[in-house]
């Protein structure tokens, strides 16, 4: 408030000072104080100002505010679209990663199942082989036992023959068959 009063006083001082200076010079004073020029100035001020007001309020202001609004909307739209694209990309990446993890898990499961099946088959084959080998071993053992029995039987006969021969040579008479057989059985049992 005070500032505007000072401004008014300063302006008045300039006005009065220059006005009186001009008056002293005798050049008819300030043109600004010539009231004959007031009417045309005011008439044309009104015309010019109204014309500019019409131009501004009807043409310029709507055009500019419309342009600024459209620009703002465009910027906001672009920002939203960018945000949405970013969101989409993020969800795509998440989906991709999930799928990758699933696939990896599935592959691992497959591998594990395959491994289990393989080892089961191998165990079965091993069992078959084992059984076969066991059978062969059993057969072989039976054969060996039979051969040994044969050999033992032969051995008994041989021992009987040798015993008879030795007894005949030593005693000069054939040996008692029953006693010899008992002795041989005792010897065989003692072994």
């Amino acid at each position: 408030m005070l500032r505007s009063i000072y401004g008014a006083l300063a302006g008045l001082a300039v006005l009065v000072a220059s006005g009186t200076a001009m008056a002293k010079e005798g050049s008819g004073g300030m043109p600004q104080l010539d009231y004959h020029s007031f009417a045309p100035q005011l008439v044309w001020l009104a015309i010019a100002f109204l014309a500019l007001y019409f131009v501004m309020s009807r043409l310029a202001v709507p055009a500019i505010s419309d342009t600024i609004d459209r620009r703002q909307a465009k910027i906001q739209g672009d920002l939203d679209a960018a945000e949405k694209a970013n969101e989409d990309t993020r969800s795509l990446v998440a989906a991709y990663e999930k799928r990758l993890a699933d696939t990896r898990e599935e592959a691992r499961k497959h591998m594990r199942e395959r491994g289990e099946a393989d080892s089961a088959a191998a165990a079965a084959r091993l069992q078959v082989l084992h059984d076969k080998l066991a059978a062969q071993i059993g057969e072989a053992e039976k054969r060996i036992a039979a051969q040994r029995d044969d050999v033992m039987a032969g051995l008994e006969n041989m021992a009987k023959d040798i015993g008879q021969d030795v007894y005949a040579k030593l005693a000069g008479q054939p040996a008692d068959q029953a006693a010899l057989a008992a002795k041989i059985a005792v010897a065989k049992g003692g072994r």
């Binding site: 408030m1 302006g11 300039v14 001009m22 043109p31 100035q41 001020l45 010019a48 310029a60």
Partner: protein, 242 residues
Amino acid sequence: MHSPMEQFEIKRLLHLNLFGIDASFTNSSTWMVIAVILATAVFVWGMRQRALVPGRLQSVAEVGYEFVAGMVRDNVGDGGKKYFPFILTLFIFILFCNVLGMVPYSFTPTSHIVVTFAMAAFVFVGVTIIGFARHGMHFLSLFVPKGVPFALLLLLVPIEIISYFIRPFSLSIRLFANMLAGHTMLKVFGGFVVMLGIIGGWAPLAFIVVFTGLELLIAFLQAYVFAILTCLYLNDAVHLHH
């Protein structure tokens, strides 16, 4: 040697009479019309494309618009939007008149008190009407500062009333006196250049160059001050703030 005041003389270029009123087309009218045409060129022709990415002239128009829009928004706030086209017109009209006045051989319509006073009086009357229309008799509380002892009010209320009624004068004389003083100064120093001739004339010539820059600043500044004070007065009327 011409008088420094001669540049302010009103010359009737075309004698016109409107219902008994002298409506002659003068040198002042010429430059008012040129200001309006140039402002229209910038704000309408410059905006013709309404481009999202503005060109040069469109940028000028938008910067001017945003400048005044920010001024109205900051100083009047809500309820100021209605008056924005008027403030914009006021600012642009005064700015173009002031700046065009810096063109050699041109005329500065705002260097005449009758022009600036007409605008200031219109603002004053308009603001007062808006104030009474919005607040009725309560608008008179503008003259009573809040939280002041009664004894001081006896002193302050008259001061407030005087300062309110001095507004149109301070508003108009500030602009008019600045234009008058600046142009007179330039003319006086121009006279010195001629007087001192080729030997001593360089000093006032250098001063004129610097002072022309200052005058351009003042041309803008006074348009700004006129517009912002109008905004402040409008704020008083709209919001009854102090």
